[in-house]
């Protein structure tokens, strides 16, 4: 691992040590975040999968009802009975924060107070298949809204997990080793400097002593 391009000084060393502790702490927290997000995400995906299977099955049943209805009624009559809705559904959107991911929450609001009050046509000229189709579709609507909510949540959480995973990995495999290597390099360099100045001092001391007492010119005893 390449070390960083820094001057080997004490100042740098203490700065790097501080950065390393921050990086280690951040790594631990991000790892916890990733694990918790992953746990929730997998639960949510399982729920979404079940709900989607259910919604898709019921939706194709509804479509079959509509096809039957359109076989019995003329296309104009069918359009005319469906195209002037009595009911209007709107959604109250709020958001919930899950591990720093904002996920949406939808709650349905119907215009008329009775949510069963759906048939926008009189029963005299329409087929009973149409009634079935509209009714089952209306019953399916809460599930569809819930599906939209959790599927969107899955989408946002998966993006966040990917980001967090990348951050964790880059901290774990790039940043932290690089800090450690650099700290090691600086401390070794400083120790080396220390040793070399110490030997130099000893050498100078020897020379000075030699000068003062003329050791070299005394005859060996």
């Amino acid at each position: 691992m390449a070390i960083m391009n820094v001057n080997p000084t004490r100042m740098q060393l203490s700065k790097l040590k501080k950065q390393l502790t921050t990086a280690v702490r951040g790594h631990k927290m991000l790892k916890d975040k990733r694990d918790e997000l992953m746990r929730r995400f997998l639960d949510l995906v399982k729920e979404t999968r079940e709900l989607r299977d259910k919604v898709e099955k019921e939706l194709s049943a509804c479509n079959a009802h509509f096809v039957n209805a359109s076989a019995v009624m003329s296309a104009e009559a069918l359009d005319a009975s469906l195209m002037s809705p009595k009911q209007q559904v709107s959604l109250e959107v709020s958001s919930r924060n899950v591990m720093s991911v904002d996920i949406p929450e939808f709650s349905a609001v119907t215009r008329t107070s009775d949510s069963g009050d759906i048939f926008p046509y009189g029963f005299a000229f329409t087929s009973f298949e149409l009634d079935d189709a509209v009714m089952s579709l209306n019953e399916l609507l809460p599930d569809m809204i819930h599906l939209a909510q959790i599927e969107k949540s899955c989408e946002m959480m998966s993006a966040e997990i990917e980001k967090t995973r990348r951050r964790v990995n880059s901290l774990e495999h790039v940043m932290i080793p690089r800090y450690q290597e650099t700290i090691k390099y600086i401390s070794m360099k400083l120790e080396e400097n220390d040793r070399s100045s110490r030997t130099r001092l000893m050498k100078v001391k020897d020379m000075l002593l030699d000068k003062a007492h003329n050791y070299s010119q005394r005859p060996a005893e």
């Binding site: 992953m38 995400f41 997998l42 995906v45 399982k46 979404t48 999968r49 989607r52 299977d53 919604v55 898709e56 939706l59 194709s60 509804c62 479509n63 509509f66 096809v67 359109s70 069918l78 359009d79 469906l82 195209m83 809705p85 009911q87 209007q88 559904v89 709107s90 959604l91 109250e92 959107v93 958001s95 904002d102 996920i103 949406p104 939808f106 609001v109 119907t110 215009r111 759906i118 048939f119 926008p120 189709a133 509209v134 579709l137 609507l141 569809m144 809204i145 599906l147 939209a148 599927e151 969107k152 899955c154 989408e155 946002m156 959480m157 998966s158 993006a159 997990i161 990917e162 995973r165």
Partner: protein, 107 residues
């Protein structure tokens, strides 16, 4: 803030949603669908946009723009032509993105 629900697709598949109070936008053409989706999503009036599966594949580029936003949630639904499994594939791609490999749907 109250928002509505939109359904885009071929008219056969979506006319039923009109009766129960959703806003429907019949469309079968890829270019038109892209414009429509962009218009609906940018207008900020819709919290959820259901797309039939055929259209859902055609507007992939437009969908990408709204992935990070809270609303609208763009959700595929099967049309009259039947279920092509896009919804499940989409879920499995989420798992793949998050985990690195698909550990839930590969059975």
């Amino acid at each position: 803030m109250a928002k509505n629900i939109a359904v885009i697709g071929d008219s056969e598949s979506i006319k039923g949603f009109c009766a129960i109070g959703l806003d429907i936008f019949p469309c079968t053409d890829s270019d038109k669908a892209q414009h429509l989706l962009r218009r609906l999503a940018d207008s900020d009036n819709y919290a959820v946009i259901y797309l039939t599966e055929e259209l859902f594949e055609l507007v992939e580029k437009e969908r990408k723009r709204y992935e990070e936003k809270l609303t609208p949630a763009i959700i595929p639904i099967p049309g009259v032509k039947g279920n092509s499994g896009i919804g499940t594939k989409r879920l499995s791609s989420f798992v793949e993105q998050a985990v690195g490999s698909d550990i839930i749907f590969n059975d």
